[in-house]
């Protein structure tokens, strides 16, 4: 069970209010999509969930516990790009999470544990359709394949929460629907909660079980920085979608 609670959250940068009074309650295994105009703080919101920005006021709670103030294995992330390790093969990228968590000093697995990790990685590789590319390096993959690998790389560690920062924003429109099928499949396989920032309204309704719209409710024309954005619409959508 993973419940995410946001209480009276404010975020300011040098007197510049980005987010004000954000309140939110997200249940286990939800797929939350976040939309809003650029500069409305949706990425800042995600960064705070990730732990690389700290709230100015208010708090994030996961199952009643305050969020750690640095990234950790309970919250996976897929960025728009650059989240793969160029020096590792596809298989190496996928194994990395298991190796890091299974071997604190050497960061390598041996014998039966390595075989088990390889099996797990192969299974996931098949699920994301990259088994033929297992020995390639990220630079040899297309943008869509890179993002599939990046998602798989996060999912293999079984995070409670998966954060997606415009993960399909840099891809060809043709690939996007395949990616939607894939993310829904992985979401159902792993029972995790997903937060996804997107600029595509259609995508947000197609994928989400809950759509959050970030916008400013108060605007001061003389001092645009005085007020921040908040969740103006919190739209629960009926039913968990199945892949396809």
């Amino acid at each position: 069970m993973t419940q995410v609670t946001v209480k009276h959250l404010w975020k300011e940068f040098d007197g510049n209010v980005v987010l004000e009074n954000v309140n939110l309650q997200v249940d286990d295994h939800e797929f939350v999509t976040i939309v809003g105009a650029s500069g409305c703080g949706k990425t800042t919101f995600l960064k705070m969930l990730l732990g690389i920005e700290t709230p100015s006021r208010g708090a994030f709670l996961i199952d009643g516990q305050p969020l750690p103030n640095e990234p950790g294995p309970d919250r996976g992330i897929v960025f728009q790009r650059y989240s793969l390790f160029p020096h590792l093969t596809v298989m190496g990228n996928l194994l990395l999470g298991l190796e890091l968590q299974g071997s604190p000093i050497l960061c390598r697995l041996f014998g039966a544990r390595r075989r088990r990790a390889l099996d797990q990685a192969r299974e996931l590789l098949e699920a994301v359709g990259l088994q033929a590319a297992a020995d390639k390096y990220p630079a040899q993959l297309s943008g869509g394949m890179q993002q599939r690998l990046s998602i798989a790389q996060s999912v293999i560690c079984e995070p409670k929460i998966l954060l997606l920062d415009e993960p399909f924003g840099a891809l060809d429109p043709g690939i996007t629907s395949d990616m939607h099928t894939l993310i829904l499949k992985l979401w159902n396989m792993n029972k995790m909660t997903i937060f996804m920032v997107t600029h595509d309204l259609q995508e947000s309704f197609a994928l989400g079980t809950r759509v959050l719209v970030f916008d400013k409710v108060r605007v001061d024309a003389q001092a645009p920085e005085a007020f921040g954005a908040t969740i103006t619409f919190n739209i629960p959508l009926k039913g968990h979608r199945s892949p396809g």
Binding site: P73, F79, S83, P86, H87, P104, I105, C107, A139
Partner: protein, 271 residues
């Protein structure tokens, strides 16, 4: 008629064109050497190719009367081992300090300005200090090369480390990486090819400091020999020695480049 910028030599003519300047220089040397020797058979400035060959044969294959060494190889061995030790130590310092500065904000705040200041000290200006403190032995010469190239390698690797996309560093943490794991599995492996680049760029200055140190206080070495025989205007030794040093430097550069493509194939593809 296509534009000049669109006219490209074929494979064969590329090879031919690349050796052309070397051939031209050699021809010019042969011509002027011959002309000078015709005018004055005792001329020492541009010795005949046959003289150079004879001298080098003596240096490479005959034992020196005084020391019993085959001088060319003794000199080459001495110089290369100084260079190798100095570059190995510089690489180690570069990796350790560069990565630490690049990864750890507290160390960056503490050491980075200090290293930046150190790197501005002209190494030759501290050579007297080295000779006073470390004596005239190997330590002073090797230290001079290290002072000359290590700060550059440290700063270069610190910058390359800091240039790694933040996304990667954050991603690794979400996969459970500790600081140690982050450095050993994510940062260090990506810095090896960068280290090779930095080494290739510092080869020139490493040779410079090596020869400077050998010229001042040494008993063998390529730089020592050149400065020793300068007293006798022995161009038949100096010229081939300079060419030999160039060949050695070129080979080292080539080997490093080969190592980079063979061992770190992932780094030579598209970024």
């Amino acid at each position: 008629m296509r534009r000049l910028v669109n006219q490209r030599p074929g494979r064969g003519s590329t090879a031919l064109l690349s050796v052309l300047p070397f051939i031209l220089v050699l021809c010019a040397y042969f011509y002027y050497s011959h002309a000078r020797l015709l005018a004055n058979p005792g001329d020492k400035l541009l010795p005949a190719p046959a003289t150079i060959a004879a001298t080098m044969h003596r240096y490479a294959f005959e034992e020196d009367e005084r020391s019993g060494d085959r001088l060319l190889w003794t000199d080459t061995g001495a110089s290369l081992s100084r260079l190798a030790v100095a570059l190995a130590i510089s690489s180690g310092m570069g990796l350790a300090l560069g990565l630490a500065i690049g990864v750890l904000p507290y160390l960056r705040a503490t050491i980075a300005p200090f290293v930046a200041a150190l790197s501005l000290i002209p190494p030759l200006a501290v050579l007297p200090i080295l000779f006073i403190v470390a004596g005239l032995g190997e330590t002073a010469k090797i230290t001079l090369i290290i002072i000359g190239v290590a700060p550059f390698i440290v700063r270069d690797l610190a910058m390359r480390t800091a240039e790694l996309p933040t996304e990667q560093i954050i991603k690794a943490q979400t996969l459970g990486a500790s600081t140690w794991q982050l450095v050993t599995r994510v940062v260090l492996p990506q810095m090896w090819p960068r280290l090779i680049d930095a080494l290739r760029l510092s080869l020139g200055s490493a040779w410079l400091f090596l020869i400077a140190a050998e010229a001042i206080a040494s008993t063998e070495g390529l730089g020592y020999r050149i400065f020793l025989v300068r007293r006798y205007l022995a161009m038949d030794v100096i010229l081939p020695y300079v060419a030999w040093i160039t060949v050695l430097a070129f080979t080292m550069d080539w080997l490093l480049r080969l190592l980079r493509t063979k061992a770190f194939g992932w780094a030579s593809g598209a970024a």
